[in-house]
């Protein structure tokens, strides 16, 4: 399973990639939608974990572009917005993808990665 993490906070995404690697999840990272699309053009990713709010291209816009290259790619969205209303609104926008609020519980993220991957294979 190959995972692509995309967030404009470098120190977050680098550390998250390392922690996923410790849990035997092969994770690459990108700091922008543009970088993510360049990486996805060269390598197949099964799942992308995307920050909702990034400069230039937000998570939902990036999802649309990634799906043009990899229609079967699964997605998990991360957000810094914390209210319940924001969560509901965001989850609705994200559709049937997963949606987590920062700071993220690593076990919850790993569980959702596995669940999303299993759902994709089913």
């Amino acid at each position: 399973m190959k995972v692509l993490l995309v967030d404009d906070e470098e120190e977050l995404v680098v550390t998250l990639a390392e922690r996923l690697s410790i849990r035997d999840i092969d994770a690459d990272w990108a700091l922008s939608g543009e970088d993510a699309l360049r990486m996805a053009a060269d390598k197949r990713y099964d799942l992308a974990v995307l920050d909702m709010k990034m400069p230039k291209m937000n998570g939902l816009q990036l999802k649309v572009e990634l799906q043009k290259q990899w229609p079967a790619m699964r997605f998990i969205f991360l957000t810094g917005h914390g209210s319940e209303e924001d969560f509901e609104a965001g989850a609705s926008e994200a559709g049937d993808e997963y949606y987590l609020i920062k700071p993220v519980n690593i076990q919850e993220l790993v569980a959702k990665i596995h669940a999303s991957f299993d759902a994709g294979e089913a």
Binding site: E11, T15, H81, I101, K102, V104
Partner: protein
């Protein structure tokens, strides 16, 4: 038409709400980074407990990242605190360039999202006015300019004392408009301008605000 004070209060409340939302978003990212690096230290400690080796450089990197985020969070909260304390009194004296720079910092996330660079030249000009209203007006102007300008632009702000008035000048070096005439100033901005006695002049690429150096 709403009484002036109601409109002023609504303007300040709107600004306070937007600033609070931006600060909370920034702090969520700070906490997320601290969370991940603390978690990484946990992971490495677990590995050590099972007899594995922990490279010292990884420990150093994780701890220095956390310390950096603590400084970042502290800076964000200092700005919020400074803004909050300008409500302490109806009239306060302050350095105009520093006041504008504070609002530029508080609008920093929006500027970053638009990839717009805003700079404020230091200046010694002082003002005695309702600082929270001035800050609110400057913030609303900055947010509007960020929406009107295309991405990847810049705004240079300069302050100058002109006798008994102070001038705050915003310039886009490319000469692009900073405000949309039919939108800004709206009712709230007009109320703030009336209260602060702001005269606003807008030309392509430039917005100049002139207001009394002393409102007393």
């Amino acid at each position: 038409m709403e009484p002036l004070n109601d409109t002023l209060d609504a303007a300040c409340l709107q600004v306070f709400g937007k600033i609070s939302a931006a600060v909370s978003h920034d702090l969520k990212n700070v906490l997320a980074i601290v969370n991940e690096n603390a978690g990484l230290l946990d992971d490495l400690a677990l590995r050590a407990a099972k007899g594995g080796e922990i490279p010292l450089d990884r420990l150093n990197v994780a701890t220095s990242r956390m310390l950096k985020q603590v400084k970042r969070g502290d800076a964000v909260l200092k700005n919020l605190n400074r803004f909050a304390h300008t409500t302490d009194a109806p009239l306060l004296q302050g350095n105009v360039a520093e006041t504008v720079a504070l609002m530029v910092d508080l609008a920093g996330r929006q500027a970053a999202m638009r990839e717009t660079v805003i700079t404020v030249a230091p200046d010694a000009a002082m003002i005695s006015t309702c600082l929270v209203y001035l800050e609110s007006f400057v913030y609303l102007l900055l947010r509007h300019a960020l929406e009107v300008l295309p991405r990847k632009e810049s705004v240079e702000i300069a302050v100058a004392a002109e006798g008994e008035t102070v001038c705050i000048r915003l310039v886009n070096p490319a000469g692009l408009p900073l405000i949309q005439d039919d939108v800004f100033p709206g009712a709230q901005e007009k109320a703030l301008m009336e209260r602060l006695k702001i005269d606003l002049q807008a030309l392509p690429g430039t917005v100049a605000l002139r207001l009394p150096a002393s409102l007393a």
